[in-house]
């Protein structure tokens, strides 16, 4: 039996073997720290409009400058981290978990249930992600909670599909068949055999969708279906006339764009490396 690795040793091993993934993890951690300490870090109230300093250049008073309402951009970006993490995690987690549950159920119960669920997922899969999210966001109206719902729904069938195929292959695995023949209860088979084996694809798709969710929120906000003023969402900060102001005050569209890119970049790097690590076929030499 291999020696048990402590948490610290695992982390060190991860950093050494997958430096990119570690970089991604570092970015995510930084985002989380920022999001958790908004009170401490943000010098101003992100909602407060100070009409004396509209379009102020970055300076000692306002490190990132101010926007068209005189709101401190850095404070808004800091609070925006909270919203980005909220959107990313919630949408991805909700979508993937529901999808995974449906996938496992579908695979395990088989028969009519499987057929019905598969058809349902097929129907949802017939829509490109953004378009379905767009339609749902139109129903619900612009608000950050609604955006999360709108983004998570298209994730469900995609997660279900991936998890279902893994669950199926586990179910058909000779070992599992043997265990079942020996009389193991349904619950035992699911909990002890299927679930652990679908963890890998579940985590993979979860991390893959994290970054995508944040980008989807940005796109929906741009199309006018996302967060509402005065919410300090990064996507909202990029929409509308932020780009009209780009010449006069380039910091207005640049900082939120950089923030989004950095955040999604971190999620993608981490997710990528995690996938490399978890997928047994891809482990490095």
């Amino acid at each position: 039996m291999a020696p048990r690795l402590t948490v610290a040793k695992t982390v060190v091993k991860f950093v050494r073997m997958k430096p990119l993934g570690a970089a991604g993890a570092a970015i995510i951690l930084a985002m989380m720290v920022v999001a958790a300490s908004t009170q401490v870090l943000a010098p101003y109230d992100p909602y407060h409009a100070d009409y004396g300093v509209q379009f102020a250049r970055p300076s000692a008073e306002h490190w990132f400058g101010t926007d068209e309402f005189g709101r401190d951009l850095m404070s808004r970006i800091i609070y925006g981290a909270r919203i980005a993490l909220f959107v990313g995690f919630t949408a991805s987690f909700a979508g993937c978990t529901i999808g995974a549950l449906l996938g496992v159920t579908s695979a395990y119960l088989g028969g009519k249930v499987d057929l019905f669920l598969e058809r349902l997922m097929d129907i949802l899969l017939a829509f490109p992600q953004l378009i379905l999210a767009l339609a749902i966001a139109s129903i619900l109206g612009p608000a950050i909670q609604n955006v999360v719902i709108a983004i998570s729904i298209p994730i469900i069938p995609r997660a279900a599909r991936v998890v279902r195929s893994t669950a199926l292959s586990v179910k058909e695995n000779v070992y599992v068949e043997a265990v079942q023949a020996l009389g193991a209860s349904r619950r035992r088979v699911v909990l002890q055999h299927i679930l652990p084996n679908v963890m890998a694809p579940y985590i993979i798709i979860l991390t893959a969708q994290l970054g995508a969710a944040i980008l989807a929120e940005a796109a929906l906000s741009y199309l006018g279906l996302g967060a509402a003023e005065p919410t300090p969402s990064w996507g909202l900060m990029l929409s509308g006339s932020a780009l009209s102001y780009a010449e006069k005050a380039p910091w207005i569209p640049i900082f939120p764009g950089v923030a989004i890119s950095l955040g999604v970049f971190g999620f993608n790097l981490f997710g990528d490396s995690l996938r490399d690590a978890l997928d047994p076929k891809l482990r490095g030499r």
């Binding site: 409009a49 509209q54 309402f69 006018g224 509402a228 009209s244 010449e247």
Partner: protein, 537 residues
């Protein structure tokens, strides 16, 4: 040299000198010679929306009007160079009977439609019948403006007579509406909806091509009834819904003009880059942005609460602060400030919400709220349209204002379709909404505060208001009418039935080579392009 020759030389020198000095004096004076219009060129324009159909009678969007206006003429029109004076277009003269119940128009002769057929009074009658008595299956959006008209007759090919059942002070202005284009009767007889997809008029340009979502083109009408017009060979609209892309198009010269409005920030950048090559015409717009409180919903059923809200809105600061962002600038009553019907500034400043002293206003607001039973303020939802300029910007400002008097307003932007729905159904507590018309006409602007009016979204119901409106609508004497219009506005604002916000200004940006276009306050008028010319291609 002999004395004779010397004298001769002196004379010649003197004459030469005199001629020289004379020529300096007689050199062209300070007044520059007028530019001669150049024939030729195609005017390229960008427009921010596509039209649902091509029939202005049936549409409500500037997109339809701007694209097809050059293809048609009106009976009477607003002077393109002298808003809001009404002059003739197809009508050469007109008479109004002393009792105000008969309007007689004399029609220009020798005008031809694009298909070659002559225009007669019968065509005008047919077009107006469609507007005032729309046949089954068509719609006439502004029908209500003509509710006084009982019949339209064409007793001879050169005369059109409108008969009314009661005098209507605004009728002439409404007849000059840019939406009332004149169609050939023979197509209307076949299909009243013919002009939703087709365009046959008498205008300076003929319909050339329409690619939905992309472009709209017109070309010169060689048989136009005004001599030597139009100067342009044609015009072309590019449909481009993104504001920054439209601004980029004008800036790069792919388009020469944007007729409706470009925000101040874009305009500043364009002006900086192109300097003298660009002309920016800034004009006040015939529209304002305000906030409606649903008069049938608590707490806005209480006049004290409504007054407190309007007192809490510092409009003067708003004008200063929002102008560079949105073009909202002028503080005014229910009709555009500076026009003859608007409540004069001196009287306005006595009404709640328009006091110059913002702090005093806020103190009074808090007092009223306490008196009405809300000493700690209250929470309310303000619905809004999810368009940044100027809806969201206005929302950000007023939300912060009302926080100062203890009222927590939540901004809830809605998609346009949803917003409009909720607006009409009264499904809101507070709502940001504009009032925009084609002309500064009291009927058009004040109608919406009367009970039962289709645009009375805030459900105002005050018989005194209704009475004042009815009386001013029939007051043919301008002095009397003005008094009534002022009294009307005073009453509405005193009771804070509605909160007008700020009046709009717009920037029409065009290349200097586009000549002879004067941007009027209303972006619906002066779109015929009859006298516009390009100094170079």
């Amino acid at each position: 040299m002999t004395a004779g020759i010397r004298r001769y030389r002196t004379v010649i020198t003197a004459v030469a000198l005199a001629v020289l000095v004379g020529s300096l004096v007689v050199t062209p004076s300070a007044a520059p010679a007028a530019e001669t219009p150049r024939r030729g060129g195609v005017l390229l324009a960008v427009i921010g929306a596509d039209a649902p159909s091509l029939d202005p009678h049936q549409e409500s969007t500037f997109a339809t009007l701007q694209m097809v206006a050059p293809l048609y003429n009106l009976l009477i029109q607003i002077d393109p160079y002298n808003y809001p004076k009404v002059i003739g277009d197809l009508a050469t003269e007109w008479k109004i009977s002393p009792d105000g119940l008969t309007y007689t128009f004399k029609i220009r002769q020798g005008v031809k439609f694009h298909d070659g057929s002559p225009l007669t009074a019968a065509d005008i009658k047919a077009s107006y019948d469609k507007l005032v008595f729309p046949p089954q299956g068509t719609r006439s959006i502004r029908k209500i403006a003509y509710s006084a008209v009982t019949s339209i007759d064409a007793p001879d090919p050169a005369t059109v007579v409108f008969k009314l059942k009661f005098p209507s002070a605004s009728l002439l202005d409404n007849l000059a509406s840019p939406w009332n284009v004149i169609y050939p009767k023979k197509y209307l007889d076949k299909d009243p909806n013919y002009f939703m997809k087709n365009a046959v008029g008498t205008g300076p340009f003929k319909f050339k091509n329409y690619t939905r979502g992309a472009t709209f083109e017109g070309e010169r009408n060689p048989d136009y009834h005004v001599k030597d017009r139009p100067y342009l060979n044609g015009y072309k609209f590019f449909i481009s819904p993104e504001t920054s892309v439209r601004a980029a198009a004008v800036r790069s010269g792919r388009a020469y003009i944007e007729f409706r409005d470009l925000p101040n920030s874009e305009v500043g950048a364009i002006k900086k880059q192109l300097g003298d090559k660009i002309v920016v015409q800034q004009t006040p717009m015939v529209g304002q942005f305000g906030i409606g409180m649903n008069n049938t919903v608590k707490p806005f059923t209480d006049v004290r609460v409504r007054k407190a809200m309007t007192l809490g809105f510092d409009r003067y600061t708003a004008g200063k602060v929002l102008y560079p962002l949105t073009g909202l600038r002028d503080v005014g009553p229910l009709i555009r400030p500076g026009t003859e019907w608007a409540l004069p500034q001196a009287e306005l400043e006595k009404l709640p919400g328009f006091w110059r002293d913002a702090e005093k206003s806020r103190v009074e607001a808090r007092r009223l709220l306490a008196e009405a039973g809300y000493p700690n303020g209250f929470k309310v939802v303000m619905k809004n349209r999810n368009v940044k300029l100027p809806y969201q910007d206005l929302a950000v400002f007023v939300i912060q204002e009302w926080r100062k008097i203890g009222v927590e307003v939540e901004n809830r932007p809605l998609e346009t379709a949803t917003w409009f729905n909720d607006l009409r159904e009264g499904n809101f507590e507070m709502m940001i909404n504009p009032t925009v018309e084609f002309m500064d006409d009291p009927d058009q602007f004040l109608n919406r505060y009367t009970k039962g009016a289709p645009q009375n979204y805030t459900r105002i119901s005050d018989p005194a208001v209704d009475d004042l409106f009815a009386r001013q609508a029939r007051a043919l004497d301008p002095v009397e009418r003005k008094k009534l219009a002022h009294a009307f506005q005073k009453r509405v604002l005193e009771n804070a039935y509605y909160m007008p916000g700020l009046w709009w200004t717009r920037n029409v940006v065009h290349w200097a080579k586009v000549k002879n276009y004067v941007a009027p306050p209303s972006h619906y008028t002066n779109q015929k392009l009859q006298d516009v010319w390009l100094s170079e291609d």
